[in-house]
Subunit: 279 residues, 2 copies
């Protein structure tokens, strides 16, 4: 049996009782390590579970899926995913391969950023399509996320922006030389995401557009959601460029139409309460 | 301290390790009982937690919020919510009152239907606004949910439809007589939701419209998501009127634009695989 188990968002104890019981009974336990991170490391998890964890980066999962699954024909294998197994990234491909090989699977759900963002007081059913904001490079500055945010906002909907994570990335030089040397991990901050959004707004104005999202649009920055040191800050997009939220992971919400109860909640986290006084 | 603790979706063991530890240390533990249900009853939870639970229905929470919160000034109080505390219903009002009274609060997240629906293989970031489908009566047949589904579908987005729950409802007669006699709980099935959708489609055609959603639109019916006996069925809206998914709770997804990997996943749950053969 293959178990896909969500670990939640905070630390080792955010796993469910059921998930923990299953891990303890599994012969092999993989930890998916490329889409997200917990605030604690692999060692802390191993100690809490009393099990050795096999780190599964993108290469492992893509190249060795059949190895993972062949084990699961004979014994119980767990595949641990930060958040929910079907959160920001789905593991559909692994499941489809499992079914093809005749391996049964079971999912043990947990919180993911997609529902835990509700902690800022914005109603989850008022969110439109989720977008990803990627790190721009000197030569690659995609703006498609801005169009989706604009569409959501025109429909009155909030947008959750998942911010880029670069783990186990190779420099172009090392990639060309075939050297498996990896750059230090990078996590986009709310400040960086806000700067990129402002740059798009400037671009659009240069093109004669009047963007729907501006410096004054109400946004929410969130850091380490679900963790003991979680931080939330609400304010204008401009304010999001300087707000100090500390360590990763960060997420950014661009609001749509705000309801009075939502405004009351956002005031609790306001960088500057006067922004919300007129609402 | 006030703890808002998500219980997840299945049974007692779907609580997180952290959530369970907090419950054990709390002096009073309320179980929110009006927005959803677990597949197990209050007694099973009490036995597993080793704690007595105080059922908090809508009346309790609205009328006795201050009582709940005054306790929380002196000791630790837990407020348990099926799914995530910010899932289908937010508890913003309780939090705002707590902050006003100077009561600290902490949220312990869990899976909710809003992220666990990913188990059917549809990508969560391709969902638009979530809608609720309410039980129609002889005199009240709102259709607003259909317009939202249509808007999502035009934007290529899937729609999660949360299906109505009637718990502790009074008949008009008992309400007028002031008798606190409650009707048996009712939970809308996927079949009932599909019938109501088909009725709206007929209405729209009578008004000369060509609805975006038709009998042939691909839908997904889900029952008891996260439970050991979870069921998923994919097929046309017409097929959803007769699919047998068993006990509550049910949810329905009306799909938007389907990606190839999503189609492959939906085939696993197909009522009739030929529906997906052309995709």
């Amino acid at each position: 049996m293959l178990y896909l188990i969500g670990l939640g968002l905070g630390d080792a104890k955010d796993i469910t009782v059921k998930g923990l019981e299953v891990i303890k009974q599994c012969s092999r336990v993989y930890l998916e390590a490329y889409t997200s991170i917990l605030t604690v490391g692999k060692e802390a998890l191993e100690e809490f579970y009393g099990k050795e964890l096999i780190l599964a980066d993108r290469e492992t999962v893509e190249q060795e899926a059949d190895t993972i699954l062949k084990d699961a024909l004979q014994c119980d294998v767990a595949f641990l995913v930060v958040g929910d197994p079907f959160g920001a990234t789905t593991h559909s491909d692994l499941i489809l391969r499992a079914v093809k090989l005749g391996v049964s699977y079971r999912v043990i759900h947990n919180a993911s950023i997609l529902n835990a963002v509700g902690c800022c007081g914005l109603q989850l059913y008022n969110f439109g399509e989720t977008v990803s904001i990627v790190f721009w490079t000197d030569t690659w500055k995609p703006e498609s996320f801005f169009n989706k945010i604009t569409k959501n906002r025109r429909n009155g909907m909030h947008t959750l922006c998942l911010l880029d994570i670069k783990v186990k990335e190779q420099s172009v030089e090392n990639l060309m030389r075939g050297k498996k040397i990896y750059e230090p991990p990078r996590y986009m901050s709310v400040n960086q995401a806000a700067e990129q959004l402002l740059a798009v707004i400037q671009n659009r104005r240069l093109q004669g557009e009047e963007p729907e999202v501006t410096e004054a649009t109400v946004c929410v920055g969130l850091a380490r959601v679900g963790g003991a040191d979680q931080q939330i800050a609400s304010g204008t997009l401009q304010e999001m460029t300087t707000v100090a939220l500390g360590d990763p992971l960060h997420s950014l919400i661009v609001t749509g139409t705000l309801h009075p109860l939502e405004v009351d909640m956002l005031k609790l986290f306001a960088v500057d309460k006067s922004v919300f006084e007129q609402s």
